[in-house]
């Protein structure tokens, strides 16, 4: 039978689920009595359990980082570019794990899960979670997998922030932190964009204060608007210009408000596809987790102090056209690490794709990422 997937793909993968019944105290003061985490793994854990790599996902992604769920899947996992045999996160060398964060809508316990107190979905009653809550839940997850120390914790965007949080909160449990297209905390502008996205959702008449499920509807208009706004911040002006310019679908103005420009059509299509499979309450939670992320806050708002006791080696990557989390933001992380005399390398990748560049097959990006991971692998055998 011919191999249906590309040779450098991990191929068919099956998500797994793990249940935790020890209550998890959350930063917000509430407690999750029990919870599930959905995760995927690629590659083989070696005998000394030293080659495990934890991949943290971004705002709206999930545990499906690589490979395919079905033979006829057209779309692969979200980081197929970087995970697979011979790729930067080489599944021939590493045992790669990716879990869906708490509060998500792709299998792990979140607003769509049944609230044990009521037997109905949590909806808006699901507690607001933080990045620190996630690392705490993932520490238990690591214990359950029997992994004392990750060879690396890796992530892009919000996932990169999670990797940073790991290095600060659980210094002995990782040897490397790879922090891509991230920031040490959100700027007022970042928070402002998130707030507009939240208001789009919350002001949708179908939102019903988050209890839309009870009304048998979904706040699709709000969720689509939120996604359109988010999507604009993921791309650069250049990337959008290159892709669509001012191109018109019908070649001429229609003097109305239907879709005319190609970019409008694209945004609507993206939003449509996203809203069909994502939960609005989860979107609200994830943007809050981003807004609250500020690991320096626990250390007199001094990032160098926060990172001082980290023992991991760091690899920080940014992209020149990323304006959501610009290179300057990555350099704040680098500066704090330099102040601490920590081992850190920093690559600034020339790319026109904007924030989304971290998901793209940019040759130099893949080269430096692979070179760094080779170093990680050498001491992980």
């Amino acid at each position: 039978m011919p191999e249906p997937f590309p040779a450098d793909s991990v191929g068919l993968v099956v998500p797994k689920s793990i249940h935790f019944d020890e209550p998890l105290p959350l930063d917000g003061g509430k407690t999750l009595e029990d919870y599930d985490l959905v995760y995927e793994t690629y590659g083989e854990l070696n005998a000394s359990r030293s080659n495990a790599v934890l991949v943290c996902h971004a705002l709206s992604s999930d545990a499906h980082a690589a490979g395919y769920h079905h033979v006829d899947d057209r779309k692969s996992g979200w980081w197929e570019t970087c995970i697979g045999p011979g790729k930067p996160i080489d599944t021939e060398r590493f045992f790669v794990v990716c879990s869906n964060n708490l509060g998500g809508c792709k299998g792990s316990t979140g607003p769509m899960s049944a609230n044990p107190a009521t037997g109905r979905p949590y909806g808006p009653d699901f507690p607001v979670v933080t990045v620190k809550d996630w690392t705490r839940s993932q520490a238990r997850f690591s214990d359950a997998l029997g992994i004392k120390q990750w060879a690396a914790v890796i992530g892009g965007s919000l996932g990169g922030m999670q990797a940073l949080q790991w290095a600060i909160d659980l210094p002995n449990r990782l040897r490397h932190a790879v922090v891509i297209a991230a920031a040490p905390k959100l700027s007022a502008q970042n928070i402002a964009f998130n707030e507009v996205a939240r208001q789009a959702i919350r002001s949708d008449p179908d939102f019903y204060d988050g209890r839309y499920d009870e009304h048998g509807v979904k706040p699709l208009r709000g969720l689509k608007l939120a996604r359109m706004l988010g999507h604009i911040t993921y791309l650069s002006d250049d990337a959008m210009g290159g892709k669509f310019g001012r191109e018109l679908r019908d070649g001429k103005f229609g003097f109305g408000f239907d879709v005319e420009f190609q970019v409008e059509s694209y945004l609507r299509h993206q939003a449509e596809a996203f809203a069909a499979h994502f939960d609005a309450n989860t979107y609200l939670l994830m943007t809050k987790a981003l807004d609250y992320f500020d690991p320096a806050a626990d250390y007199d708002h001094n990032l160098a102090k926060a990172l001082d006791h980290a023992t991991a080696k760091f690899f920080v990557v940014s992209f020149t056209s990323d304006w959501r989390f610009s290179s300057a933001r990555s350099r704040e992380i680098v500066k704090a690490l330099l102040d601490d005399d920590q081992d850190v390398s920093y690559a600034e990748i020339e790319a026109h794709q904007g924030h989304d560049a971290f998901l793209m097959p940019i040759p130099h990006y893949l080269d430096v990422f692979k070179a760094y991971m080779n170093r990680v692998a050498e001491v992980s055998r």
Binding site: F315, R331, L338, D341, S345, Y346, A347, H364, V368, R375
Partner: protein
């Protein structure tokens, strides 16, 4: 590991166990050598993608940034030595870079091609062309070198900036030293190598 002879001279000047910053560190060979042989740690700074990649492959700490943008990421006195090999002449503001070197480091070490070498003088004076040689391999129109200087020029700048020169060596393109070079460094030396620090306040 074979080290460029010029880097060998630099590495002899660097005390074991110290911390260095290597500006324009290329493929990271000096950092790797010092780490492996002298327990010297630190960071390299590079702008070129290929060099950054090679540094990562070599496992040395590399920060990709433009030297002309300054060293603002580094606190004052955070290094024992700040090294700049064959790069001073290629930055936009060599004088400011020297200031920055001595702000973040206790001592600075630089190497540069000596434009006062007799062959360079000969080529310009007699043939009327900009000098091209093994150590100045570029044509005027494609050279990365923006601020070529002579041994005398460099020392004059040091005096002006109250920079104290601790050690000076000039070598030829095979990195050999000779008696002649000791007495007429600006005429016979092809590559100049200096170690220096902030001068005492007068």
């Amino acid at each position: 590991m074979a080290l460029r002879p010029e880097l060998e001279i630099i590495s002899e000047w660097i005390a074991p166990g110290s911390r260095i910053l290597d500006l324009g560190c290329g493929d990271g060979v000096l950092l790797k050598y010092l780490r492996d042989t002298r327990n010297v740690n630190g960071y390299g700074i590079e702008i070129d993608d290929q060099n950054v990649l090679q540094c990562i492959e070599a496992g040395v700490n590399i920060i990709q940034t433009d030297l002309d943008a300054g060293l603002s990421e580094f606190d004052a006195d955070s290094f024992d030595y700040v090294v700049m090999s064959q790069t001073l002449q290629a930055v936009h503001y060599p004088d400011r870079v020297l200031d920055e070197m001595l702000r973040v480091g206790r001592e600075g070490i630089v190497t540069f091609p000596n434009f006062g070498h007799w062959l360079a003088r000969f080529q310009l004076a007699i043939t009327g062309h900009m000098p091209v040689s093994n150590i100045l391999p570029y044509d005027w129109y494609n050279s990365p070198n923006l601020h070529l200087c002579t041994v005398k020029d460099f020392e004059q700048l040091c005096t002006k900036k109250n920079i104290e020169i601790l050690e000076r060596t000039v070598v030829d393109q095979r990195h050999k030293r000779s008696l002649g070079m000791r007495f007429a460094p600006n005429l016979l030396g092809e590559i100049a190598i200096y170690r220096f620090r902030r001068g005492k306040k007068s």
